[in-house]
Protein backbone atom coordinates (compact mmCIF):
# COMPACT_ATOMS: atom_id res chain seq x y z
CA UNK A 1 0.00 0.00 0.00
CA UNK A 2 2.72 2.42 1.07
CA UNK A 3 4.83 1.34 -1.87
CA UNK A 4 2.02 2.10 -4.27
CA UNK A 5 1.67 5.51 -2.71
CA UNK A 6 5.34 6.38 -3.11
CA UNK A 7 5.23 5.08 -6.68
CA UNK A 8 2.36 7.40 -7.46
CA UNK A 9 4.16 10.25 -5.84
CA UNK A 10 7.21 9.66 -8.00
CA UNK A 11 5.30 9.29 -11.27
CA UNK A 12 2.47 11.81 -11.10
CA UNK A 13 4.31 15.12 -10.47
CA UNK A 14 6.69 14.90 -13.47
CA UNK A 15 3.78 13.96 -15.76
CA UNK A 16 1.68 16.86 -14.52
CA UNK A 17 4.65 19.19 -15.00
CA UNK A 18 5.25 18.05 -18.58
CA UNK A 19 1.53 18.34 -19.37
CA UNK A 20 1.47 21.88 -17.99
CA UNK A 21 4.46 22.87 -20.13
CA UNK A 22 2.86 21.45 -23.28
CA UNK A 23 -0.50 23.09 -22.66
CA UNK A 24 1.18 26.43 -21.98
CA UNK A 25 3.27 26.04 -25.14
CA UNK A 26 0.21 25.16 -27.22
CA UNK A 27 -1.66 28.18 -25.85
CA UNK A 28 1.22 30.57 -26.51
CA UNK A 29 1.33 29.48 -30.15
CA UNK A 30 -2.50 29.49 -30.53
CA UNK A 31 -2.77 33.00 -29.10
CA UNK A 32 -0.07 34.03 -31.62
CA UNK A 33 2.28 35.39 -28.95
CA UNK A 34 5.11 34.06 -31.16
CA UNK A 35 5.27 33.66 -34.92
CA UNK A 36 4.10 30.30 -36.19
CA UNK A 37 6.97 29.92 -38.65
CA UNK A 38 9.41 30.32 -35.78
CA UNK A 39 7.91 28.04 -33.13
CA UNK A 40 5.34 25.40 -34.05
CA UNK A 41 2.69 24.17 -31.63
CA UNK A 42 3.15 20.69 -30.09
CA UNK A 43 0.06 19.38 -31.87
CA UNK A 44 1.38 20.56 -35.25
CA UNK A 45 4.66 18.77 -34.50
CA UNK A 46 2.77 15.54 -33.76
CA UNK A 47 0.78 15.83 -36.96
CA UNK A 48 3.98 16.43 -38.95
CA UNK A 49 5.55 13.37 -37.33
CA UNK A 50 2.61 11.24 -38.46
CA UNK A 51 2.56 12.67 -41.98
CA UNK A 52 6.28 12.34 -42.68
CA UNK A 53 6.82 9.19 -40.62
CA UNK A 54 8.18 7.07 -43.45
CA UNK A 55 11.05 9.40 -44.22
CA UNK A 56 11.53 10.42 -40.62
CA UNK A 57 11.88 6.83 -39.43
CA UNK A 58 14.56 6.20 -42.07
CA UNK A 59 16.59 9.10 -40.72
CA UNK A 60 15.93 7.99 -37.19
CA UNK A 61 17.23 4.48 -37.86
CA UNK A 62 20.36 5.94 -39.49
CA UNK A 63 20.99 8.09 -36.42
CA UNK A 64 20.39 5.15 -34.07
CA UNK A 65 22.84 3.02 -36.02
CA UNK A 66 25.50 5.72 -35.95
CA UNK A 67 24.92 6.30 -32.24
CA UNK A 68 25.21 2.62 -31.38
CA UNK A 69 28.39 2.16 -33.41
CA UNK A 70 30.04 5.16 -31.75
CA UNK A 71 28.74 4.36 -28.29
CA UNK A 72 29.80 0.72 -28.26
CA UNK A 73 33.16 1.69 -29.78
CA UNK A 74 33.62 4.39 -27.14
CA UNK A 75 32.63 2.01 -24.34
CA UNK A 76 35.07 -0.69 -25.45
CA UNK A 77 37.88 1.83 -25.93
CA UNK A 78 37.12 3.57 -22.61
CA UNK A 79 37.08 0.33 -20.60
CA UNK A 80 40.25 -1.05 -22.21
CA UNK A 81 42.13 2.22 -21.76
CA UNK A 82 40.92 2.41 -18.15
CA UNK A 83 42.23 -1.08 -17.40
CA UNK A 84 45.52 -0.36 -19.16
CA UNK A 85 46.08 2.89 -17.25
CA UNK A 86 45.17 1.09 -14.02
CA UNK A 87 47.81 -1.58 -14.56
CA UNK A 88 50.56 0.86 -15.54
CA UNK A 89 50.55 3.66 -12.94
CA UNK A 90 53.27 5.65 -14.69
CA UNK A 91 51.25 5.61 -17.91
CA UNK A 92 48.25 6.71 -15.89
CA UNK A 93 49.92 9.77 -14.42
CA UNK A 94 51.33 10.63 -17.84
CA UNK A 95 48.02 10.27 -19.66
CA UNK A 96 45.56 11.77 -17.18
CA UNK A 97 46.21 15.44 -18.00
CA UNK A 98 46.23 14.64 -21.72
CA UNK A 99 42.84 12.98 -21.39
CA UNK A 100 41.37 15.95 -19.56
CA UNK A 101 42.92 18.30 -22.11
CA UNK A 102 41.41 16.34 -25.00
CA UNK A 103 37.95 16.96 -23.56
CA UNK A 104 38.38 20.73 -23.56
CA UNK A 105 38.52 20.99 -27.33
CA UNK A 106 34.96 21.70 -28.50
CA UNK A 107 33.32 19.09 -30.74
CA UNK A 108 32.55 21.87 -33.24
CA UNK A 109 36.29 22.31 -33.74
CA UNK A 110 37.24 18.64 -33.89
CA UNK A 111 34.38 17.57 -36.16
CA UNK A 112 35.45 19.42 -39.35
CA UNK A 113 39.10 18.44 -38.82
CA UNK A 114 38.26 14.74 -38.60
CA UNK A 115 35.98 15.05 -41.63
CA UNK A 116 38.71 16.71 -43.67
CA UNK A 117 41.18 14.01 -42.63
CA UNK A 118 38.92 11.02 -43.20
CA UNK A 119 36.36 12.12 -45.76
CA UNK A 120 32.58 11.98 -45.75
CA UNK A 121 32.07 8.31 -44.95
CA UNK A 122 30.52 7.06 -41.70
CA UNK A 123 33.99 6.55 -40.19
CA UNK A 124 34.74 10.13 -39.07
CA UNK A 125 31.27 10.39 -37.54
CA UNK A 126 31.71 7.21 -35.54
CA UNK A 127 35.15 8.37 -34.48
CA UNK A 128 33.76 11.65 -33.21
CA UNK A 129 31.24 9.83 -30.99
CA UNK A 130 33.96 7.48 -29.75
CA UNK A 131 36.10 10.48 -28.82
CA UNK A 132 33.29 12.08 -26.84
CA UNK A 133 32.05 8.85 -25.19
CA UNK A 134 35.24 7.15 -24.09
CA UNK A 135 36.25 9.87 -21.63
CA UNK A 136 33.51 9.60 -18.96
CA UNK A 137 33.64 5.80 -19.29
CA UNK A 138 37.42 5.63 -18.93
CA UNK A 139 37.44 7.95 -15.89
CA UNK A 140 34.58 6.06 -14.22
CA UNK A 141 36.37 2.75 -14.86
CA UNK A 142 39.62 4.07 -13.41
CA UNK A 143 38.05 5.32 -10.20
CA UNK A 144 36.01 2.14 -9.84
CA UNK A 145 39.15 0.03 -10.13
CA UNK A 146 41.06 2.18 -7.66
CA UNK A 147 38.44 2.71 -4.96
CA UNK A 148 38.57 -0.73 -3.41
CA UNK A 149 37.58 -1.23 0.21
CA UNK A 150 40.73 -1.23 2.35
CA UNK A 151 39.67 -4.25 4.41
CA UNK A 152 38.94 -6.34 1.33
CA UNK A 153 42.31 -5.48 -0.20
CA UNK A 154 44.09 -6.37 3.02
CA UNK A 155 42.22 -9.68 3.19
CA UNK A 156 43.05 -10.60 -0.40
CA UNK A 157 46.71 -9.76 0.24
CA UNK A 158 46.90 -11.76 3.46
CA UNK A 159 45.64 -14.94 1.83
CA UNK A 160 48.25 -14.53 -0.87
CA UNK A 161 46.25 -13.70 -3.99
CA UNK A 162 48.17 -12.78 -7.13
CA UNK A 163 47.93 -9.43 -8.94
CA UNK A 164 45.63 -11.04 -11.52
CA UNK A 165 43.40 -12.62 -8.86
CA UNK A 166 43.06 -9.25 -7.13
CA UNK A 167 42.03 -7.69 -10.42
CA UNK A 168 39.64 -10.46 -11.38
CA UNK A 169 37.88 -10.95 -8.05
CA UNK A 170 38.27 -7.60 -6.32
CA UNK A 171 38.97 -4.60 -8.56
CA UNK A 172 36.94 -5.56 -11.62
CA UNK A 173 33.66 -6.37 -9.80
CA UNK A 174 34.21 -3.31 -7.62
CA UNK A 175 34.38 -1.08 -10.71
CA UNK A 176 31.05 -2.22 -12.17
CA UNK A 177 28.67 0.25 -10.56
CA UNK A 178 31.05 3.15 -11.14
CA UNK A 179 31.48 2.01 -14.74
CA UNK A 180 27.73 2.09 -15.25
CA UNK A 181 27.41 5.68 -14.09
CA UNK A 182 30.04 6.54 -16.73
CA UNK A 183 28.14 4.50 -19.32
CA UNK A 184 24.93 6.39 -18.52
CA UNK A 185 26.54 9.81 -18.90
CA UNK A 186 28.14 8.70 -22.17
CA UNK A 187 24.79 7.36 -23.42
CA UNK A 188 23.25 10.83 -23.44
CA UNK A 189 26.43 12.37 -24.92
CA UNK A 190 26.49 9.82 -27.73
CA UNK A 191 23.07 10.77 -29.14
CA UNK A 192 23.71 14.51 -29.20
CA UNK A 193 27.18 13.97 -30.67
CA UNK A 194 25.70 11.75 -33.40
CA UNK A 195 23.39 14.62 -34.35
CA UNK A 196 26.27 17.10 -34.49
CA UNK A 197 28.28 14.63 -36.57
CA UNK A 198 25.42 14.37 -39.05
CA UNK A 199 25.41 18.12 -39.62
CA UNK A 200 28.75 17.66 -41.31
CA UNK A 201 27.41 15.73 -44.28
CA UNK A 202 23.65 15.92 -44.18
CA UNK A 203 22.69 12.93 -46.30
CA UNK A 204 20.95 10.62 -43.86
CA UNK A 205 20.17 10.92 -40.16
CA UNK A 206 18.16 13.22 -37.94
CA UNK A 207 20.98 15.76 -37.72
CA UNK A 208 20.98 16.32 -41.46
CA UNK A 209 17.19 16.29 -41.59
CA UNK A 210 17.13 18.98 -38.92
CA UNK A 211 19.57 21.24 -40.74
CA UNK A 212 17.77 20.94 -44.07
CA UNK A 213 14.35 21.49 -42.49
CA UNK A 214 15.63 24.49 -40.60
CA UNK A 215 17.05 26.05 -43.76
CA UNK A 216 13.70 25.41 -45.47
CA UNK A 217 11.77 27.18 -42.67
CA UNK A 218 9.91 24.03 -41.65
CA UNK A 219 10.00 24.25 -37.85
CA UNK A 220 7.50 21.39 -37.37
CA UNK A 221 10.02 19.04 -38.95
CA UNK A 222 12.87 20.39 -36.84
CA UNK A 223 10.88 19.82 -33.67
CA UNK A 224 9.75 16.40 -34.83
CA UNK A 225 13.42 15.46 -35.22
CA UNK A 226 14.23 16.94 -31.81
CA UNK A 227 11.47 14.83 -30.26
CA UNK A 228 12.99 11.67 -31.70
CA UNK A 229 16.47 12.70 -30.54
CA UNK A 230 15.21 13.16 -26.99
CA UNK A 231 13.41 9.81 -27.16
CA UNK A 232 16.55 8.05 -28.42
CA UNK A 233 18.55 9.52 -25.58
CA UNK A 234 16.01 8.34 -23.01
CA UNK A 235 15.80 4.93 -24.64
CA UNK A 236 19.56 4.38 -24.59
CA UNK A 237 19.79 5.59 -21.00
CA UNK A 238 17.00 3.21 -20.01
CA UNK A 239 18.61 0.23 -21.78
CA UNK A 240 21.93 0.85 -20.02
CA UNK A 241 20.08 1.04 -16.69
CA UNK A 242 18.33 -2.24 -17.48
CA UNK A 243 21.61 -3.99 -18.28
CA UNK A 244 23.05 -2.68 -15.02
CA UNK A 245 20.14 -4.16 -13.09
CA UNK A 246 20.68 -7.52 -14.80
CA UNK A 247 24.39 -7.57 -14.00
CA UNK A 248 24.53 -6.00 -10.54
CA UNK A 249 22.45 -8.37 -8.46
CA UNK A 250 24.46 -8.32 -5.29
CA UNK A 251 23.42 -4.93 -3.97
CA UNK A 252 20.47 -4.47 -1.65
CA UNK A 253 17.55 -3.20 -3.70
CA UNK A 254 17.09 0.50 -3.22
CA UNK A 255 13.64 1.79 -2.36
CA UNK A 256 11.89 3.57 -5.23
CA UNK A 257 13.72 6.86 -5.57
Amino acid sequence: MDNKKTLWRSIVPPFVMIAVIFIAWELIVRLELVDRWLVPSPIEVLIEMGRGWERLSEHWLATLKLTMLGYVGGAVFGVLLGVLLHFIPIFRSAMYPVLVLSQNIPVIVIAPIITMLLGFSILPKVLLIVLVCFFPICIAMLSGLAQVDHNLRNYMGMIGSSRWQQFRHLELPNSISSLFSGLKIAATYSVSTAVVAEWLSPKVGLGGYMILSSRGYMPERVFAAVTLIVLSSLLLFWIVGLIEKLIVRWQPRKEAA
Binding site: N154, I159, L170, Q251
Partner: protein
Protein backbone atom coordinates in the same frame (compact mmCIF):
# COMPACT_ATOMS: atom_id res chain seq x y z
CA UNK B 1 55.22 -25.13 13.31
CA UNK B 2 55.36 -21.31 13.38
CA UNK B 3 58.46 -19.70 14.82
CA UNK B 4 59.14 -15.99 15.18
CA UNK B 5 62.81 -15.24 15.77
CA UNK B 6 63.81 -11.79 16.95
CA UNK B 7 61.32 -9.75 14.95
CA UNK B 8 61.94 -6.00 14.83
CA UNK B 9 59.79 -3.47 13.00
CA UNK B 10 59.60 0.33 12.97
CA UNK B 11 57.72 2.83 10.85
CA UNK B 12 58.84 6.28 9.83
CA UNK B 13 56.09 8.88 9.72
CA UNK B 14 56.83 12.55 9.05
CA UNK B 15 60.51 11.97 9.68
CA UNK B 16 59.87 10.44 13.10
CA UNK B 17 60.90 6.85 13.62
CA UNK B 18 58.43 4.86 15.69
CA UNK B 19 59.42 1.44 16.94
CA UNK B 20 56.42 -0.91 16.84
CA UNK B 21 57.82 -4.38 17.52
CA UNK B 22 60.99 -5.08 19.52
CA UNK B 23 62.60 -8.50 19.57
CA UNK B 24 59.48 -10.64 19.33
CA UNK B 25 60.15 -14.34 19.90
CA UNK B 26 57.54 -17.03 20.24
CA UNK B 27 56.22 -20.11 18.51
CA UNK B 28 52.96 -21.92 17.79
CA UNK B 29 53.01 -25.74 17.86
CA UNK B 30 51.09 -28.10 15.61
CA UNK B 31 47.38 -28.04 16.46
CA UNK B 32 47.89 -25.46 19.17
CA UNK B 33 45.62 -22.47 19.83
CA UNK B 34 47.71 -19.47 20.85
CA UNK B 35 46.39 -16.01 21.69
CA UNK B 36 48.19 -12.69 21.69
CA UNK B 37 46.76 -10.16 24.09
CA UNK B 38 47.96 -6.61 24.51
CA UNK B 39 46.89 -3.01 24.90
CA UNK B 40 45.51 -1.37 21.75
CA UNK B 41 48.18 0.05 19.53
CA UNK B 42 50.65 -2.64 20.57
CA UNK B 43 51.43 -3.59 16.98
CA UNK B 44 49.44 -6.82 16.82
CA UNK B 45 48.02 -6.02 13.42
CA UNK B 46 51.51 -5.15 12.16
CA UNK B 47 52.74 -8.50 13.42
CA UNK B 48 50.03 -10.25 11.40
CA UNK B 49 50.93 -8.32 8.29
CA UNK B 50 54.54 -9.40 8.75
CA UNK B 51 53.54 -13.06 9.09
CA UNK B 52 51.21 -12.71 6.09
CA UNK B 53 54.03 -11.20 4.05
CA UNK B 54 52.29 -7.87 3.39
CA UNK B 55 55.04 -5.98 5.24
CA UNK B 56 58.75 -6.63 5.48
CA UNK B 57 60.59 -7.14 8.79
CA UNK B 58 63.49 -4.86 9.75
CA UNK B 59 65.26 -7.76 11.43
CA UNK B 60 64.45 -11.33 12.38
CA UNK B 61 63.01 -14.36 10.68
CA UNK B 62 59.66 -16.09 10.39
CA UNK B 63 59.67 -19.86 9.93
CA UNK B 64 56.75 -22.12 9.17
CA UNK B 65 57.21 -25.91 9.03
CA UNK B 66 61.00 -25.67 8.75
CA UNK B 67 60.66 -23.21 5.87
CA UNK B 68 61.75 -19.60 6.01
CA UNK B 69 58.65 -17.60 4.96
CA UNK B 70 59.91 -14.15 5.95
CA UNK B 71 58.24 -11.66 3.61
CA UNK B 72 56.47 -14.37 1.59
CA UNK B 73 52.74 -14.41 0.93
CA UNK B 74 50.24 -17.25 0.70
CA UNK B 75 51.40 -19.42 3.61
CA UNK B 76 48.60 -18.70 6.08
CA UNK B 77 44.83 -18.53 6.14
CA UNK B 78 43.27 -15.43 7.61
CA UNK B 79 40.15 -14.21 9.35
CA UNK B 80 40.03 -10.42 9.71
CA UNK B 81 38.07 -8.28 12.15
CA UNK B 82 35.66 -7.18 9.44
CA UNK B 83 34.24 -10.27 7.77
CA UNK B 84 35.56 -9.03 4.39
CA UNK B 85 33.30 -11.18 2.26
CA UNK B 86 33.30 -10.02 -1.34
CA UNK B 87 29.85 -8.43 -1.77
CA UNK B 88 29.51 -9.54 -5.41
CA UNK B 89 29.86 -13.26 -4.71
CA UNK B 90 27.43 -15.55 -2.95
CA UNK B 91 28.37 -17.03 0.42
CA UNK B 92 29.38 -20.29 -1.22
CA UNK B 93 31.46 -18.59 -3.90
CA UNK B 94 33.21 -16.53 -1.20
CA UNK B 95 34.22 -19.62 0.73
CA UNK B 96 35.26 -21.37 -2.48
CA UNK B 97 37.35 -18.39 -3.64
CA UNK B 98 39.66 -18.60 -0.63
CA UNK B 99 40.25 -22.27 -1.47
CA UNK B 100 40.83 -21.47 -5.14
CA UNK B 101 43.41 -18.82 -4.32
CA UNK B 102 45.29 -21.32 -2.21
CA UNK B 103 45.43 -23.68 -5.17
CA UNK B 104 42.37 -25.94 -4.98
CA UNK B 105 40.66 -26.50 -8.33
CA UNK B 106 37.49 -24.48 -8.92
CA UNK B 107 35.12 -27.45 -9.02
CA UNK B 108 36.50 -29.06 -5.92
CA UNK B 109 36.48 -25.74 -4.07
CA UNK B 110 32.79 -25.19 -4.88
CA UNK B 111 31.93 -28.70 -3.80
CA UNK B 112 33.84 -28.50 -0.52
CA UNK B 113 32.38 -25.09 0.28
CA UNK B 114 28.84 -26.35 -0.26
CA UNK B 115 29.40 -29.44 1.88
CA UNK B 116 30.91 -27.54 4.76
CA UNK B 117 28.28 -24.83 4.80
CA UNK B 118 25.69 -27.61 5.16
CA UNK B 119 27.71 -29.28 7.87
CA UNK B 120 28.01 -26.24 10.11
CA UNK B 121 24.36 -25.29 9.60
CA UNK B 122 24.84 -22.43 7.14
CA UNK B 123 23.46 -24.38 4.19
CA UNK B 124 20.44 -22.16 3.73
CA UNK B 125 22.70 -19.13 3.19
CA UNK B 126 24.84 -20.82 0.52
CA UNK B 127 23.36 -18.88 -2.37
CA UNK B 128 22.69 -15.59 -0.59
CA UNK B 129 24.76 -12.48 -1.09
CA UNK B 130 26.70 -11.28 1.98
CA UNK B 131 24.59 -8.15 2.55
CA UNK B 132 21.74 -10.42 3.65
CA UNK B 133 23.77 -11.85 6.55
CA UNK B 134 23.93 -10.47 10.09
CA UNK B 135 27.32 -9.57 11.60
CA UNK B 136 27.52 -12.87 13.47
CA UNK B 137 26.61 -14.93 10.40
CA UNK B 138 29.19 -13.10 8.28
CA UNK B 139 31.87 -13.92 10.83
CA UNK B 140 30.86 -17.59 10.82
CA UNK B 141 31.28 -17.70 7.07
CA UNK B 142 34.57 -15.84 7.41
CA UNK B 143 35.82 -18.37 9.97
CA UNK B 144 34.74 -21.31 7.86
CA UNK B 145 36.54 -19.79 4.88
CA UNK B 146 39.76 -19.62 6.89
CA UNK B 147 39.31 -23.10 8.37
CA UNK B 148 38.80 -24.74 4.96
CA UNK B 149 41.89 -23.25 3.35
CA UNK B 150 44.64 -25.86 3.16
CA UNK B 151 47.30 -23.72 4.86
CA UNK B 152 48.36 -25.18 8.19
CA UNK B 153 48.22 -21.95 10.22
CA UNK B 154 45.19 -19.74 10.80
CA UNK B 155 45.55 -16.10 11.82
CA UNK B 156 42.46 -14.65 13.54
CA UNK B 157 42.64 -10.87 13.90
CA UNK B 158 40.19 -9.78 16.63
CA UNK B 159 37.51 -11.82 14.89
CA UNK B 160 34.70 -10.90 17.28
CA UNK B 161 35.78 -7.35 18.09
CA UNK B 162 32.96 -5.74 16.13
CA UNK B 163 30.13 -7.89 17.53
CA UNK B 164 27.81 -7.16 20.44
CA UNK B 165 28.49 -8.94 23.74
CA UNK B 166 25.84 -11.64 23.40
CA UNK B 167 26.65 -12.53 19.78
CA UNK B 168 30.29 -12.59 20.80
CA UNK B 169 29.60 -15.22 23.45
CA UNK B 170 27.67 -17.37 20.98
CA UNK B 171 30.44 -17.03 18.44
CA UNK B 172 33.15 -18.05 20.90
CA UNK B 173 31.18 -21.18 21.77
CA UNK B 174 30.55 -21.96 18.13
CA UNK B 175 34.18 -21.46 17.13
CA UNK B 176 35.36 -23.56 20.06
CA UNK B 177 33.06 -26.47 19.17
CA UNK B 178 34.10 -26.49 15.52
CA UNK B 179 37.79 -26.02 16.25
CA UNK B 180 37.83 -28.82 18.85
CA UNK B 181 36.51 -31.18 16.15
CA UNK B 182 38.87 -29.92 13.45
CA UNK B 183 42.11 -29.00 15.14
CA UNK B 184 44.35 -26.55 13.35
CA UNK B 185 47.16 -24.31 14.51
CA UNK B 186 45.67 -20.95 15.39
CA UNK B 187 47.15 -17.59 16.28
CA UNK B 188 44.47 -15.26 17.65
CA UNK B 189 44.76 -11.56 18.43
CA UNK B 190 42.26 -10.28 20.96
CA UNK B 191 41.55 -7.50 23.45
CA UNK B 192 39.41 -9.70 25.63
CA UNK B 193 41.13 -11.58 28.46
CA UNK B 194 38.12 -13.88 28.91
CA UNK B 195 38.12 -14.74 25.23
CA UNK B 196 41.82 -15.61 25.31
CA UNK B 197 41.40 -17.77 28.43
CA UNK B 198 38.34 -19.56 27.10
CA UNK B 199 39.77 -20.40 23.68
CA UNK B 200 43.51 -20.86 23.89
CA UNK B 201 46.13 -23.33 25.02
CA UNK B 202 48.69 -20.61 25.54
CA UNK B 203 48.50 -16.81 25.92
CA UNK B 204 51.25 -14.41 24.96
CA UNK B 205 51.04 -11.03 26.67
CA UNK B 206 52.35 -7.99 24.80
CA UNK B 207 53.32 -4.60 26.16
CA UNK B 208 52.83 -1.48 24.06
CA UNK B 209 55.14 1.10 22.40
CA UNK B 210 57.15 -0.80 21.34
CA UNK B 211 55.56 -4.22 21.71
CA UNK B 212 57.61 -6.82 23.53
CA UNK B 213 56.63 -10.20 24.92
CA UNK B 214 56.03 -9.71 28.67
CA UNK B 215 54.65 -13.08 29.63
CA UNK B 216 53.64 -16.47 28.31
CA UNK B 217 50.87 -18.29 30.11
CA UNK B 218 49.91 -21.91 29.62
CA UNK B 219 46.15 -22.22 30.08
CA UNK B 220 45.56 -25.31 32.22
CA UNK B 221 41.88 -26.07 31.48
CA UNK B 222 41.07 -29.37 29.77
CA UNK B 223 39.07 -29.57 26.54
CA UNK B 224 36.28 -29.61 25.52
CA UNK B 225 35.65 -26.36 27.34
CA UNK B 226 32.39 -24.71 28.32
CA UNK B 227 31.65 -21.16 29.38
CA UNK B 228 31.16 -22.45 32.97
CA UNK B 229 34.90 -21.90 33.19
CA UNK B 230 34.11 -18.28 33.96
CA UNK B 231 33.26 -19.12 37.55
CA UNK B 232 36.39 -21.26 38.04
CA UNK B 233 38.79 -19.89 40.64
CA UNK B 234 41.92 -20.46 38.51
CA UNK B 235 40.22 -18.71 35.59
CA UNK B 236 39.79 -15.58 37.69
CA UNK B 237 43.32 -15.75 39.09
CA UNK B 238 44.76 -15.90 35.57
CA UNK B 239 42.48 -13.12 34.49
CA UNK B 240 43.77 -10.97 37.34
CA UNK B 241 47.39 -11.81 36.48
CA UNK B 242 47.00 -10.82 32.83
CA UNK B 243 45.04 -7.71 33.75
CA UNK B 244 47.87 -6.52 36.01
CA UNK B 245 50.44 -7.16 33.28
CA UNK B 246 48.44 -5.15 30.79
CA UNK B 247 48.12 -2.30 33.26
CA UNK B 248 51.82 -2.75 34.11
Amino acid sequence: MLQLKGIHKSFVTKGLKREVLRDINFSVNDGEFVSIIGPSGSGKTTLFQLIGGLQQVDAGEIWLNQENITGKQGHISYMPQQASLLPWYTVKRNVALALQISGVSKREAQQQAGQWLEQVGLGEYSNEYPHKLSGGMSQRVSFLRALLSPQKLMLLDEPFGALDALTRLHMQQWLLSIWEQHRRSVLLVTHSIEEALLLSDRIIVFSANPATVVDEIVVPFPRPRKSELWSDRRFNELKQRIYEQLEG
